[in-house]
């Protein structure tokens, strides 16, 4: 991992990956949409609204994944002072916040026909809402200092403190009796979902992950270039 902490080496590897992940993301999302909308059955209970799942569930996975990545990067930034770790934590935050917002909005749209309400204050929904606030708080804190260096250090500590929320979200459906259904995919035995529905779900998850990687590389690249411009401006 330390070998890739060098920004120049990172860019040499990330730059050629970028077109592949971008095209892959587009292809996987389009395929998932095709399978999800035209080539998968409606649910016997939920009818057509079950198709919201193909966006909702992968977005929620990404929301947790992005925060976990942010916390890991923040931890390694605090321990080893890798500048790249800090950049990737800061680059991941807005993407994660976006996925969290998508999960919350699609969840509300799905909840209205299924549960008869846009929003309930159960453990899963509330803890995801808190995750959204944590993302916003992190971004506000990082940008709240005149000295960007201090902003990244303080943000890194906050990201680690806020990580306590991630296992709470994951297990909220098991610990509390919630309206939100428990996990159907990541179980020890076989997933409790039919293959025809699993295909678009997993395709969308892959698409979202590739999309995340593409945007992450782009955002890191922009930050590196910005730093370079600043140092050039300082020397001239």
């Amino acid at each position: 991992m330390h070998r890739f902490a060098n920004p120049a080496r990172f860019m040499r590897i990330a730059e050629p990956i970028l077109p592949w992940t971008s095209v892959g993301a587009l292809a996987a999302i389009l395929l998932a949409l095709y399978f999800g909308i035209f080539d998968s059955p409606a649910d016997y209970q939920q009818g057509e609204t079950v198709r919201i799942m193909y966006v909702h569930v992968p977005a929620a996975w990404m929301a947790l994944f992005a925060y976990t990545l942010m916390a890991l990067a923040s931890g390694s930034f605090l321990i080893w002072k890798h500048p790249l770790a800090d950049l990737s934590a800061q680059a991941a935050a807005p993407i994660g916040a976006g996925f969290t917002a998508i999960a919350l909005v699609t969840g509300a749209l799905w909840g209205q026909p299924m549960w008869g309400t846009w929003w309930v204050w159960d453990a899963r929904l509330t803890s995801v809402l808190i995750l959204f606030f944590l993302y916003l708080g992190y971004m506000a804190l990082v940008n709240g200092f005149d000295d960007p260096e201090r902003g990244s250090r303080m943000g890194a500590i906050l990201a680690l403190v806020g990580f306590i929320n991630v296992p709470i979200i994951k297990f909220s459906v098991d610990w509390w009796n919630t309206l939100h259904q428990p996990a159907s995919i990541s179980r020890l035995d076989a997933p409790a979902i039919d293959t025809s529905m699993l295909i678009p779900l997993l395709l969308m998850a892959i698409g979202f992950k590739l999309f995340f990687i593409s945007i992450l590389i782009l955002r890191i690249k922009i930050q590196l270039l910005k730093k370079r411009i600043r140092s050039i401006q300082l020397t001239h």
């Binding site: 606030f133 708080g137 804190l141 303080m154």
Partner: protein, 221 residues
């Protein structure tokens, strides 16, 4: 131990001589709680159901108000650097400061809350649980709040930022605090939410000083 007492005495006398700060928090608490009967409904039955929640939310918001000054004055006059550089473990110093913060905000809030709850027509059986949950919960607010105060030290708009960072983290306190009172008024066993609060308190006494100390070191370095 002498150091601990010295720090506590210093911080206490600083707060006492400034005078108004702790008082303002208390007034804010009373005023926010007063808004609810006016804004929601003066009906005693409705207020009775809402009382525990109103008092707890008011206490949380009032505590947020006092947090930005926790390290700010020490940071401004440079004594924070001396505290960080001193040979005493910064974690203990920080714990003392949190304790003083609780003495000057959490304790007054805890003392006044039964009076406010009475005005909101809370059931008499709930008083004991209200005070116990406040006694366990307000120190956690001070500790978590100190984490926020240490993080935003030296930033722009620090007061608003603390609230934005810390309020999401205080939600468990609110849930268990109100849960204990609700359980007591509805005749259920209130001990498990109280035990959760106690566990949270121990957890934050053990962990928060480390987080606060490490962010203070980052500030000074």
């Amino acid at each position: 131990m002498d150091t601990v007492m010295a720090i506590i005495r210093r911080d206490l006398s600083l707060v006492m001589r400034q005078g108004s700060d702790a008082f303002v928090v208390l007034i804010f608490f009373i005023v926010t709680v007063t808004l609810f009967p006016l804004g929601v409904s003066p009906d005693p039955l409705i207020l009775q159901n809402l009382a525990s929640g109103i008092v707890w939310v008011g206490a949380l918001l009032a505590a947020m108000l006092s947090l930005d000054r926790l390290f700010q004055t020490d940071y401004d006059d440079g004594s924070l650097e001396l505290l960080v550089l001193s040979p005493y473990p910064l974690e203990i110093v920080v714990l003392c400061k949190c304790f003083v913060h609780w003495l000057t905000t959490g304790l007054p809030i805890m003392v006044i809350s039964p009076v406010l709850a009475l005005m909101l027509n809370i059931k008499t059986g709930a008083f004991l649980y209200l005070i116990t949950s406040m006694a366990l919960g307000t120190p956690i607010i001070s500790l978590l709040g100190a984490v926020g105060a240490a993080l935003v030290l030296g930033s722009r708009r620090s007061g608003v930022l603390i609230a934005l960072l810390i309020i999401p983290l205080t939600i468990p306190i609110l849930l268990f605090g109100v849960g204990a009172i609700q359980a007591a008024t509805e005749g259920y066993n209130a001990s498990s939410p109280l035990m959760f609060l106690g566990a949270l308190l121990l957890f934050s006494i053990a962990l928060c000083p480390w987080v606060i100390a490490s962010s203070l070191r980052q500030v000074v370095s």
